[in-house]
């Protein structure tokens, strides 16, 4: 059984209040490594058998229409291993 992963992140120029909140919370906890933080979504889609190119193409379509909002978000689709 295969997994196709879709990662959706806000476009770089779009404000990310959640990422900002995390970035400013980290130092308060003594974590100093972050220059900036962006928060996005991760979808794990379970498919029958090994992901096929046809499936990946379909997921690509779904990522564009349903899983992401192209106005403010970018996405990537890949078979997970």
């Amino acid at each position: 059984m295969g997994i196709i992963v879709v990662e959706v992140m806000l476009k770089p120029e779009i404000l990310d209040p959640q990422g900002q909140a995390v970035a400013s919370a980290l130092p308060r906890l003594g974590f100093t490594f972050a220059k900036s933080v962006r928060q996005g979504k991760r979808f794990e889609i379970e498919v029958d058998g090994e992901p096929t190119d046809a499936q990946l193409a379909e997921v690509e379509k779904a990522a564009h229409t349903l899983l992401s909002n192209p106005v403010i978000e970018n996405y990537t689709v890949k078979a997970s291993n």
């Binding site: 806000l10 770089p12 120029e13 779009i14 404000l15 990310d16 400013s24 909002n69 106005v71 403010i72």
Partner: protein
Amino acid sequence: MALDTVKHAQENPDTPQPYKELGLKDDEYASIKSILGRRPTSSELAMYSVMWSEHCSYKSSKIHLKQFSEKAVKSDALLVGIGENAGVVDVGQGYAVTFKIESHNHPSYIEPYQGAATGVGGIVRDILTMGARPIAVMDPLRFGDPGNPDTRRVLPGIVAGIGGYGNCLGLPNIGGEIVFDDTYQGNPLVNALCVGVMKHSDIKLATAHGAGNLVVLFGAKTGGDGIGGVSVLASETFSDASSKKPTKRPAVQVGDPFAEKVLIECSLEIFAEDLVIGIQDLGGAGLSCATSELASAGSGGMDIRLETVPLRDPSLSPEEILMSESQERMCAIVEPSKLKRFMAICKKWDVTATVIGEVTTGTRLNITFNGELIVDVPPRTVAHDGPVYNRPMVKPAYFDSLAPVDVPLPTTPDEIKAAVLKLMAAPNLADKTWVTNQYDRYVQGNTVLSQPEDSGVIRIDTNTNLGVAISTDANARWSYLNPYEGAKLALLESCRNIATNGAKPLAVTNCLNFGSPEDPEVMWQFAETVRGLADACLEMGLPITGGNVSFYNQTGAVAILPTPIIGVLGVVQDVTKRTSMGMKPGQEIYLIGDSGDNFSGSEWAYIHGKQIGDHSPVADLAKEKRLIDLILEGQPIFEAAHDVSNGGFAASIAEMVMRTNVGAVITLPGNLSAELLAETPGRIVVAINEANTNALVALAGKYQIPVRHVGKSGGNSLTINGAVISIDELRAANTGVLEALFG
């Protein structure tokens, strides 16, 4: 990097500038040149282009809106009038209330959630800027065909955005509207109202007085939000090979309600310690607007060091910083001696605050970038002396093709039952709970009445029980048939809605949503609407405290129905005495006001082939005034009350029955279908105890308003002239409609 300084502009008078791309006409560009005696720098061009836009300059509406002030009655209640961020009225006991509606239609169509969310954010900052604590919001909405897939795209997002932002700010949502009509398909309307309260002494104004006082920008950092247009300038400016093109600019603004919430608490603490001379929120046109308006409302001179503005996106050019519409920002004028305390409070709330300039003795707004002068203008010419147009108007051609309404008129009990159930299942009348349950109506603990009541009622003093009521209304179909009467009728319905709950009308705000002002027919609708509203307010003795105009609401050549959303605010002396629409068994039901048989613009006509009809009702202001007085004087004897509007008497009585699950037996005399389904204005339904019959009849005589006994409450069904409709049947028809469409 080639910075277009004032010097550079003087030395290169003929550099071509993209003023057209920025929406400026040839003559507008010419008058900027003559104001400055030279070509504008790209930064100045950025400021003028955005401040002289329709949205900021009201260039098409100004000459009409004048009437709101010219015709206005002198009202002692009016503490701050049109022109400030929001009007302020005296509600007694030392309290002042400010309220205003604004539109965020276009952004909400592009990105429903964020568009609606930032719409709420914007109007809340307007209210905060007056020195008030925001205490409630309302959201009049308009959508296209509920069955259209695109409505399914925009509605849930818009509702979630309004809730997502308003809930996070802790503002109870106490009312609004949801109306569907095909003309809104490519152009939904998202209007947002906010109301705030303060003590008289706390009123703040947008003014920059006192040379040496500091200009402090506080709140969110500045990003590239909402400056798509000006990027052309940036690329012009940086056109020499050496410079990198600016990175892509966001098409939509994303709201940060948490940032706004802390900004509210921070600002209120700053106000409480009286630390600001003047204050202005950053909305449309961002810093261009805030600096030029603060300066022109003050002594006139202001120096700004643009490089000190904290940026979210370091690649922003000066032009872009000036035009950025990044949300959750405010600009204050602070005396140097008070800066330390001001900064301490910002630190307490983790709000970024930066001194970006100061008020000067001069008369010019001077903006430098790393020491180089890039803006040198008389602030008034940017903020107030924009172009004014008297656009051509013509009565629309559609008036020649209006057809009288042709609808079935139920007479038998079966027909009546079918009609009522069909009506109550229409999306425009269906239960709105699926929407309103996504809004927090309890937060702050002062919500006395909210949806589905006629108005929202908020307590403002827990000891004296002083409160205010607000309703927003519009009947766009009547406005389409007669914009002059339509505007009057909307005002009257709104007055009636708050009076029904026990509030005396005090002040008016409005949001005028129309098509393109460059279309003479639309311009005529607009002018007629303004004239009607001004006349009606004059006659009703109500001041208009502010509002908003939204033009260009059209898809291709098709304009939306003219949609003037009118909000009326009233005072409730003792909120514990308010009247709701819920009946108890055994009460006598009366219909107050005359019924007519005009179905034009009614929901009954609309659900039969979307007919509109041929003529709107005519507002009888003198009579409505008497009706309002009757309603207010009758409050002590009203056990329940609900106005009659969309859906006529049938909808009103059905809503009352469902409110508390108390049935009613109704007998309507005369022209049954007209009594039941026509939407003759100037009517309300009340329930009283039998003992008060004479008192009601006496009131009717005193105010010469017909009052008719139409039935008695009780049982678990609504019976109308023999048609028996169980409450369960009513509910089944009326609820779940929106959920089925959009859930």
